[in-house]
């Protein structure tokens, strides 16, 4: 029991971070159908740029903004310069995966060439420790949860209340139909990459703050949990992605606490492979949509 | 007991809450061409898929050549003699036309790993025989000039012919044709009609054909099964069902 509460606390924090990333991933994947395996590298790129801003003395809220903007631009360019052209060339889903992996490899190693192989740390202090119901949080971690909540709220408002958001949801459900209804799919796709990129950047920043230090390969480490959370939640369903993220994060932290910490990453592997082999359409999508139908 | 090659009793299929096919019963007599018609969404393709084995029925039975068939996998149904063609082009694009036909043939020496490893000398004569058969088919369907062309490069009409020839290489007892005339120009349509009619009359191949092209149905089908909204609403010759009020209503509503 003494181990359970702190583990749940860790699960909440990493779940919050994972939720931001998973929502970003699922929005983009849902609208564009591209499995962006370079997502982790965009996260880390945003973290690196935020590191530079941090070294220049910028405050935390500015760092969040920087991360969001860098993430948005990087993702947008990634699509505009790489994925988009290949899709128009008619390359097919597996070809796109190879393209994404190649992009991931290039980005990881380019980051290492530019920034070196050292581990870097942001200067944001962890702050005091708070004890809540047996769980332990630092100020930074509470801040992360707040950032996650605010970000996800903003996304929800965008998706539900704005025309762009509705257009994105329409394109994710049925691109051909959306086009005939006058939705300008190219703009929607660009916006999806930018919004998802912003989420990606924020997730990257919060991830490295929580982790402590990072380097060029750190992004790759979190990719599997993100994809697992997004697919578990049903591709294109942000609410599902949040549930998926909490599930993966909790399962990882609990298994690390009660079993072998070395296998923490293995939980995410297992979730992803089981969901793909057994129920690739996800588990939470139906739960969430049924709730919406009833409510 | 009837001597139908294929008979279907109370066949049904649900997808979650949606009933695609309910209580469908009909028979396909030996060496006959039966048309399966009905408005869009009537469940015709679903019935075809269940017979071909790519969908499991949720109720009812299928019996083929005297044996129970329901729930078999597509390749097992095919090995028993049920060969289906597809609505959308499904050629093996990176194989040549001739190779497509050879790929459709029943397994001979060389089709297994062991046979392959024993080398060309082991399977050469079987293969030569298959090549002869394939060339014969190509000649019969006037496709000989395209023999060494990549199947992906053929026109859509030629791809239809290819699928038909490929199905014939598999030595079918029952051919399931899924809209063989859809999107085909009238001249080629007539040609295909001719081929199908001769395949039935001369080679004794039985056919069940889903089609919207009423002219073709009238000209070559011996009898017709009409479906609407998942149910069989009429059976008989074209003349009989034409006067059937239920059929007229279905087409007006559906």
């Amino acid at each position: 029991m003494r181990v359970l509460a702190p583990a749940i606390g860790f699960g909440l924090v990493s779940g919050a971070i994972l939720a931001i990333a998973a929502v970003g991933f699922t929005l983009q994947f849902g609208v564009t159908n591209v499995l962006n395996l370079a997502f982790g590298e965009v996260m880390i790129t945003s973290a690196y740029i935020a590191y530079l801003a941090d070294a220049a003395g910028w405050p935390l809220w500015a760092l969040v903004l920087v991360a969001a903007v860098v993430g948005a631009i990087a993702s947008f360019l990634l699509n505009a310069l790489l994925y988009g052209p290949f899709i128009r060339r008619g390359i097919g889903l597996f070809g796109m995966l190879i393209v994404a992996l190649a992009a991931s490899l290039i980005a990881q190693n380019a980051l290492q060439i530019i920034f070196g192989a050292r581990f870097l740390t942001l200067r944001i202090p962890a702050g005091r420790s708070f004890h809540l119901l047996g769980m332990v949080f630092t100020t930074a971690q509470l801040g992360i949860i707040v950032i996650a909540a605010m970000t996800l709220l903003i996304v929800r408002v965008i998706l539900r209340q704005t025309r762009l958001g509705k257009a994105m949801r329409a394109t994710a459900t049925d691109p051909a139909l959306a086009r005939t209804c006058g939705v300008q799919t190219d703009r929607v796709i660009g916006a999806a990459w930018a919004i998802s990129g912003a989420l990606c950047g924020i997730a990257g920043l919060t991830f490295v703050v929580n982790l402590g230090s990072f380097q060029s390969t750190t992004g790759g480490e979190i990719l599997v949990p993100i994809v697992a959370a997004a697919i578990l939640g049903g591709v294109g369903h942000p609410a599902g992605a949040v549930l998926g993220a909490l599930t993966v994060a909790m399962a990882s932290e609990l298994s690390a606490a009660f079993l072998d910490p070395a296998y923490k990453g293995a939980v995410a592997f297992a979730v992803l492979i089981l969901v793909l082999l057994w129920r690739p359409q996800g588990i939470y999508a139906e739960v969430v949509t049924q709730k919406e139908a009833v409510a | 007991m009837n001597d139908d090659l294929l008979s279907v009793h109370g066949l049904g299929r649900r997808f979650g809450g949606v009933v695609a096919v309910a209580d469908a019963s009909f028979g396909v007599g030996r060496t006959s061409i039966v048309g399966l018609i009905g408005p869009n969404g009537a469940g015709k393709s679903t019935v075809l898929s269940m017979i071909a084995g790519s969908l499991r029925p949720t109720s009812g039975t299928i019996s083929f050549d005297g044996r129970e068939l329901s729930g078999t996998a597509p390749h097992t149904a095919a090995r028993r003699g049920i060969i289906r063609t597809f609505q959308t082009p499904s050629e093996f694009a990176r194989l040549t036309t001739l190779e497509n036909l050879l790929a459709g043939a029943r397994a001979t020496r060389g089709f297994t790993v062991g046979g392959a490893l024993l080398g060309r000398r082991w399977w050469r004569s079987d293969e030569d025989r298959l090549v002869e058969r394939a060339i014969g088919l190509l000649r019969r369907f006037d496709m000989l000039p395209m023999a060494n062309e990549y199947a992906g490069k053929l026109s859509s009409g030629q791809k239809r012919l290819l699928e038909l020839m490929r199905a014939l290489m598999a030595e079918p007892k029952l051919l399931l044709l899924d809209e063989p005339f859809a999107g085909v120009n009238p001249t080629l349509s007539r040609r295909i009609e001719g081929y199908l009619a001769r395949l039935c009359a001369e080679d004794g191949i039985t056919m069940l054909m889903v089609e919207h092209e009423m002219g073709a149905i009238e000209r070559i089908c011996h009898s017709v099964v009409v479906m609407a909204q998942g149910r069989v609403i009429s059976r008989g010759t074209m003349a009989e069902i034409r006067g059937d009020k239920k059929v007229l209503d279905a087409y007006l509503i559906g």
Binding site: I113, Y263, L276 | A78, L95, A107, F111, V113, M169
Partner: protein, 320 residues
């Protein structure tokens, strides 16, 4: 030719042979049968470990290496053990993980299999000695052959050449047979081949297992040559290198796969060890990966069929 040069050339040739074998195996799975085996490297790795285990001898509790099994099998059984291990692992993985999934999901499943295997190899200490890997693997026939060090190198080149020849015959016969044609049909349209009587599952598993066995044999040869093997060999990026190799050389074409093996893992990666290390440690390696990624993208864009595309198989057909 000086001894140093002989060492270098013979080493390159051994690596070339092993990579050509691996590329032929991957080509059979991916180029011919269309199987998206993004876990390919684990079959080579398990072959290497199997060969190591059956030559290191039973585990000695006092030694610093901790592993399962262990035997002293004579040459050439360890190579066969590698092939069998590769084939069995392929059977296991294939039965579980090969599904009718959209192609990118299928590749991700295989990628995750690869990551899981790497994780197990690194963390399960009693299995294959965990993170440090296995070392001091005896070289095949080293004690019985009375040759100099350089002589042994050339012997190994010959050994690899013979194995390459065997793999060549196997793969060539499969690819030019009706079975190979069924695999290519499977690649192009699995539903259609099923509708014609082909058992998709069986065809897939057969191609997967044969490819896995070839990978395992290549791993066994490599382990015997290097004398050591580590979990880094299970890294998914190694699979990526081989995919790049066959994409560059030409998928579905054996000569293309061999050419790809020559150009990518050998000419680019191995030969560039010759370049003096400049800049920070790790800089050259990082640049190599950037180039590999870049080459992949270039070829996917300009020459998606590779340098030597799949040959058309024509038959003599009478005139009308």
């Amino acid at each position: 030719m000086s001894e140093a040069w002989q060492f270098y050339i013979s080493t390159l040739l051994v690596y070339l042979g092993v990579n050509v074998m691996a590329c032929w195996g991957l080509n059979l799975q991916f180029g011919v049968a269309g199987l998206l085996n993004f876990a390919f490297i684990i079959f080579q790795a398990i072959g290497a470990y199997a060969a190591a285990l059956v030559t290191l001898g039973p585990h000695d509790p006092d030694s610093y290496q901790d592993y399962i099994f262990g035997a002293h099998l004579p040459f050439p059984l360890p190579i066969l053990a590698g092939a069998v291990a590769g084939g069995l692992l392929a059977l296991f993985v294939g039965v579980i993980a090969l599904r009718r999934l959209r192609s990118d999901y299928q590749a991700v499943v295989m990628l995750v299999v690869s990551l899981i295997a790497a994780s197990i190899a690194t963390n399960a200490v009693g299995l294959f000695n965990g993170a440090p890997g296995l070392s001091l693997i005896p070289k095949p026939l080293a004690s019985t052959l009375d040759v100099s060090l350089v002589g042994y190198q050339w012997f190994y080149v010959g050994l690899v050449a013979v194995c390459c020849l065997i793999v060549f015959v196997i793969t060539k016969r499969i690819q030019s047979s009706p079975f190979g044609r069924s695999l290519r049909a499977l690649r192009d349209n699995p539903d259609a081949i099923a509708a014609l009587g082909g058992n998709v599952g069986t065809l897939r598993i057969r191609a997967f297992v044969i490819g896995g066995a070839i990978a395992g044999a290549s791993g066994a040869l490599l382990a015997g040559f290097i004398g050591a093997w580590s979990p880094a060999s299970w890294d998914y990026r190694e699979t990526f290198v081989l995919f790049t190799a066959i994409l560059v050389g030409g998928t579905g074409n054996m000569l293309g796969a061999a050419l790809g093996a020559l150009l990518v893992p050998i000419a680019f990666l191995e030969a560039s060890r010759f370049i003096p290390s400049f800049g920070r440690p790790g800089l050259v390696e990082a640049l190599q990966w950037v180039v590999i990624g870049g080459v992949t993208l270039l070829f996917l864009w300009f020459w998606p069929r590779g340098l030597l595309p799949e040959r058309k198989r024509t038959y003599t057909v009478p005139e009308g």
